[in-house]
């Protein structure tokens, strides 16, 4: 293990933990934006994905995404169950850290990507169907796309497509799936007529903070070594997020509205999503431009759903889809080999070919993810139905899908009612309970 650099290893492990933290952060970010009857259903979408996707990643996902190439389209199964993914470095991916460290860092990306999609079908999807969709999407879309762009031998990687931390693999792919979801699953009951007001914006702000914090692991960690490139990606992450807060808020204010807290938070996320593919290829000055553009473009992008009448409930398309595309194209414009010698120069540095390659890469993935998502939804709908029933939708996902509620602030134990646990677990004890009920409820026995 003489090649292992302890500084790099420490940095990547900490970065992996930071990226993991983003998914519970996303759960709060999304959870605050839905109505209170759906807060747990929304949080659960992200949370259960952490469990399921990580297990699948260990079993076969990592091998198919990053294992030895087949036809430039997918990895093979030789690393199934992490066989051979050991403590020695994999020199093709990250020569100075244990292969296991690279694998677990990548696992966190595989987790958050499908979780991002869930904002598009918030407040109306049947839980079982959601699980089937997410697993199918992970296998059919995420794994191949990760291989195409990041896997050794992947066809987009071979073409020279640059995606530093997942503008294509994470944001554009999930954004395209979100558009398919919003169109296929349909509008929430009452969308466009009834108020659908975020129930807890402070929760969304906490989520924004966690996402932002974790994004330093996402982007800087993608340098896979602790050094100057990581520092550049770290700075770019901060610069773009802050620039996008400013531009989003300014445009929102100028357009006759007021500067909103939710807008500022959304601007930050748009800036972070947009800088993701570029973080390790552009200068901080370029990141400033990218961030400013992200705030403006994504602000207008989220209004498209009202124009076209699809209910992308939490604006996954406008923020992540559009941000991912914008960021990927900006690499073709602004990338510089002075920042990253393993990258390429963009248009302003005299290379006119990169922008076309970037466009091809991102649009191929968007189209593939969109169509594959529609097909998966169609199949899931045939099998189980994608939506909860109307009554369950009105009741809310918390009660109808999970038998719990997010908040009981009544002070009266409003949700408690009667204690029936004994009945739930044993028919024997339910008899006992009913007998004792009868005896204890006679007026003479009352204390």
């Amino acid at each position: 293990m003489q090649n292992i650099n302890t500084g790099d290893t420490a940095f990547v492990l900490i970065s992996a933990a930071l990226v993991l933290f983003m998914t519970p952060g996303l759960a709060l970010f999304y959870g605050g934006m839905v109505r209170s009857k759906n807060v747990l259903g929304t949080i659960m979408h992200s949370f259960i994905i952490i469990g399921i996707i990580n297990v699948l990643w260990m079993l076969f996902g990592y091998s198919l995404a990053f294992g030895p190439d087949k036809f430039h389209l997918i990895g093979d199964l030789s690393w199934i169950g992490l066989r051979g993914v050991g403590m020695a470095p994999n020199t093709s991916y990250a020569p100075t850290i244990p292969h296991e460290a690279f694998m677990i860092f990548q696992a966190m990306f595989a987790i958050i990507t499908p979780a991002l999609i869930t904002g598009a079908f918030a407040e109306r999807m049947k839980f079982k169907s959601f699980l089937v969709f997410i697993i199918a999407w992970f296998v059919i879309v995420y794994i191949p796309v990760a291989h195409w762009v990041w896997g050794v031998g992947g066809w987009l990687r071979n073409l020279g497509v640059l995606d530093f931390a997942g503008g294509i693999v994470v944001h554009a792919s999930s954004g395209a799936a979100a558009l398919a979801a919003a169109i296929f699953v349909g509008k929430r009951k009452g969308f466009g007529t009834e108020p659908m007001i975020p129930h807890n914006i402070p929760l969304t702000i906490i989520g924004t903070g966690i996402l932002w914090f974790g994004w330093f692991g996402f982007n800087a960690g993608s340098a896979l070594a602790s050094g100057s490139l990581a520092a550049n990606a770290f700075v770019n992450t901060q610069v773009a997020a802050t620039a996008a807060i400013v531009s989003w808020t300014v445009v929102e204010w100028l357009r006759g509205g007021k500067p909103t807290t939710l807008g500022a938070a959304t601007g930050a996320i748009a800036g972070l999503a947009t800088i993701t593919p570029a973080a390790g290829y552009v200068s901080p000055a370029a990141a400033l431009l990218i961030g400013l553009a992200a705030g403006l473009v994504c602000y207008y992008a989220i209004s498209l759903k009202f124009k076209f009448g699809y209910d992308d409930s939490l604006d996954v398309v406008g923020v992540h889809g559009v941000g991912g595309i914008l960021g990927t194209l900006s690499v073709g414009l602004l990338a510089s080999t002075a920042i990253n010698s393993a990258g390429a120069n963009g248009l302003i540095h005299g290379n006119s070919s990169l922008i076309g390659i970037q466009a091809l890469g991102v649009f191929t993935v968007v189209v593939f993810s969109f169509i594959a998502s529609l097909v998966i939804f169609k199949v899931v709908d045939k099998l189980f139905g994608v939506r909860v029933g109307e009554e369950d939708e009105i009741t809310g996902l918390d009660l109808s899908q999970h038998s719990e509620i997010g908040y009981d602030l009544s002070g009266l134990g409003g949700s408690a009612g009667e204690f029936v646990t004994a009945n739930a677990f044993s028919t024997q004890s339910s008899e006992v309970l009913s007998v004792s009920d009868e005896t204890s409820l006679t007026p003479d026995n009352l204390p």
Binding site: P195, I197, P198, E252, K258, T260, G263, I302, D315
Partner: protein, 112 residues
């Protein structure tokens, strides 16, 4: 015996309560309510989606008084709760058949 129910602006609650205390009213019930009348609601905007919210938050205050105190209590509430702008609220007066103090069983004026 009458029940006086007043729907007032929430920020006027303290003034009304103090004014009622000063004329010897020593018990009342308050609840947070929402409703609409002539006062318009407000607009909320979330990521460009604009909503008009018709219901305006108000405080409902209920106080039980003997018949001879009704006009004094009504005047006191009016003085304290008035801003002169739309949305100051309403006062309703209801006859009350009986009142019972649960602890002792006292009835009528004795229970107040």
């Amino acid at each position: 015996m009458k029940k006086i129910e007043a729907i007032i602006k929430p920020f006027k609650l303290d003034e009304v309560k103090d004014a009622l205390s000063s004329i010897g009213i020593n018990g009342l019930t308050v609840s947070e309510v929402q409703g609409f009348g002539r006062q318009k609601g407000h607009t909320e905007v979330y990521r460009g989606a604009e909503y008009t919210v018709d219901f305006v938050p108000k405080v409902k205050l209920e106080v039980l008084v003997d018949d001879n105190l009704v006009s004094q209590v009504v005047d006191t509430i009016m003085d304290a709760a008035q801003t002169g702008k739309i949305g100051d609220g309403k006062i309703f007066v209801f006859p009350v058949e009986d009142a019972i103090r649960i602890r002792t069983g006292e009835r009528g004026s004795d229970a107040m």
